[in-house]
Amino acid sequence: MAVMSYADAAKLAIAEAMRADPTVWCVGEDLGRGGVFKQYTGLVEEFGPDRISDAPISEAAIMGAAFGAAMAGTRPIVEMRFADFALCATDELVNQIAKARFMFGGQSRAPMVIRKPMGMWRSSAAQHSQSLESWYVHIPGLVVCCPATPQDNYTMMKAAIACDDPVVYLEHKDIWLTEGEVDTARTGAFGKANIRREGEDVTLVSWSNTANLCVAAAEALAQEGIGAEVIDLVSLWPWDKAAVLESVRRTGRLVVAHESVAVAGFGAEVVATVAQNVMLKAPPVRLGSPRGLIAYAPNLEDQMRVTAEMIAAAAKKTMETEPA
């Protein structure tokens, strides 16, 4: 087992996949110089500029052309640079890629990985900080994945490249350099949560970097004798409903936390699903960004953040409530 960064873990997965399958290639702006977050550094030296392909500043064409190339028999990995810029290619993703196989009655496939680095990254302001994972979950035809750890970024990138469906792959920009152990022998499956910590008192459900905050919150809660189970969903479609329901049936308490806007966020889906299926001991708590915008000034930016402290406090609140 090697220790590597979140960025390098995905890069390793890509390199291995490219070695094994000559039809896998990457395309995006500035990839030949390693990409904007250096998450492609060194790949062009091994695979050459055709397979680590630069692109014009043309998000619609990057997405659309990669789709065409997928229909023609290749397996593109599409780099969108910032998840925000992917909005320039929304028609291509939502109206074309997600729907083509169905509209054409199964004649086509779009085996693509669409990388969209997301989330707050100090003082990037409103156009470079968004987390829109719930949008993609709402679109039939797409698989949605939000890894939180180097291990999952390795494992799920491999799974995404192997997948014949289009996978919206949302890495979090704030953890590119976070290091962790990566077991390259492990394989991953979409729809299988990563139980980051077990606990019997309260269930914390999250994904992406907020799952890491949940682990921190659970550690703090443990100090106070509260056993928090941390379910890192890893993929949001499909999502591991079974793991969540099983856990809340045990704990009777639920906190869902995510960085994205709370209103109409995927946290609502998790809470609603639990509410439809399980009688909890206390009202569920949902934490997400206020429905406001992400500012440049650090103190303003922080107003939009869900923190480990807020998660721990929410968990404690569910503990205080008397069972109904």
């Binding site: 039809t23 290639w25 055709d50 397979r51 392909s53 692109a55 014009p56 043309s58 619609a60 064409a61 997405m63 659309g64 052309a65 990669a66 789709f67 065409g68 190339a69 997928a70 229909m71 023609a72 028999g73 290749t74 028609d91 291509e92 109206n95 074309q96 083509a100 196989r101 169905f102 509209m103 054409f104 009655g105 199964g106 004649q107 086509s108 039939p140 035809g141 797409l142 698989v143 997948c163 014949d164 469906d165 979409f190 729809g191 993929s235 479609w237 499909p238 999502w239 409903k241």
Partner: protein, 331 residues
């Protein structure tokens, strides 16, 4: 078109194909108007058949085409089965897309027709990408991408054409210029000139009469041979005219009085080819027989479609996605 080097056999084949396209669409229109059998919007290419027939003629079966919302002609020309297409228009089992797409998403990957598209201009980047895929895989196929004059005002036009130029891709972009974008005269909403745009984007660009199938076929043969040879993208601007409304139920009252009638009499590509063939010595009878055969083929296609059952209800859950599909427990 002078008829000096006119190839009679080819001319008859083209006439037959154009008659088939027209007969298909006339049958579809009847099915829609008289019988209410076509439930969604269909866009007829009546008057534009020469572009499909001529440009696709030099293509190999393994070359790709991508089309627009007005895609019946292109699809038939590439070799798709009319019955499967008609079933698709009626939303029936056995339709080429299983009844899921209808006219606007007609596709036959078996003949490498990668689909009509309901979003104007969206096929341009996708087509560039198909050519990119060919190049990456080392294939020698080419791609032809059809789109309308209105589509040239959308961003993907610039992005897709630039892409093909940057990566030197084997693709022919065909602007099928019928002068209208739905109810709007495209020239009113276009600054500058479409062919100039393509030239400025670095593509070798040819302008042609899109209603003269003979001349256009010669032009297309030359261009597609060159693309296969050089691997470089080119652009063809073919001027034509849509003789019917935007959709089958559009009376097209926005046109200047008499314009369509005038064009029907002077520009209809079928009529023009018949005139040329007559001059070359082909008899009316021979030509009428082709029209008759086309009409019968499409009547039979419509009969088969009419008789076909609806798709199985649960087929709607198939072919959404493999992972996290709506049929899985996860839903």
């Amino acid at each position: 078109m002078t008829l000096s080097n006119f190839d009679q056999e080819k001319g008859l084949a083209r006439l037959h194909l154009m008659e088939r396209i027209r007969a298909f669409e006339e049958a579809a229109r009847r099915a829609a108007v008289d019988e209410g059998l076509v439930l969604g919007a269909i866009h007829l290419s009546i008057g534009q058949e020469a572009v499909a027939a001529a440009v696709i003629e030099p293509l190999r079966r393994d070359d790709y085409i991508l089309s627009t919302h007005r895609g019946h002609g292109h699809t038939l020309a590439k070799g798709a089965d009319a019955t499967a297409m008609m079933k698709e228009l009626l939303g029936r089992e056995g339709g080429c897309c299983g009844g899921k797409g209808g006219s606007m998403h007609i596709a036959d990957f078996g003949v490498r027709m990668l689909g009509a598209n309901g979003v104007v201009g969206a096929n341009i980047t996708i087509a560039a990408g198909a050519a990119h895929g060919i190049k990456l895989l080392g294939g020698d196929q080419i791609v032809v991408c059809f789109f309308g004059d209105g589509a040239a005002n959308r961003g993907p036009f610039l992005e897709g054409v630039n892409w093909a130029g940057v990566f030197d891709l084997p693709i022919l972009f065909v602007c099928e210029d019928n002068q209208y974008s739905a109810s709007t005269l495209t020239s009113d909403m276009t600054s500058g000139d479409v062919a100039e745009r393509a030239r400025a984007l670095g593509l070798r660009t040819t302008q042609a009469d899109g209603n003269d199938v003979t001349g256009l076929a010669a032009t297309a043969a030359e261009i597609t041979a060159r693309i296969r040879e050089t691997g470089k993208p080119e652009f063809l601007h073919a001027k034509t005219y849509r003789l019917s409304g935007h959709t089958y139920f559009d009376p097209a009252t926005y046109r200047p009085e008499g314009e369509a009638d005038h064009m029907r009499e002077t520009a209809c590509p079928i009529m023009r080819l018949r005139t040329d063939l007559t001059r070359a010595g082909v008899t009316e009878g021979e030509m009428d027989a082709l029209r008759q055969a086309a009409a019968e083929e499409m009547a039979a296609a419509l009969d088969a479609a009419r008789a076909a059952p609806w798709p199985a209800d649960d087929s709607v859950f198939a072919d959404v996605q493999d992972i996290g599909s709506p049929v899985e427990e996860a839903f």
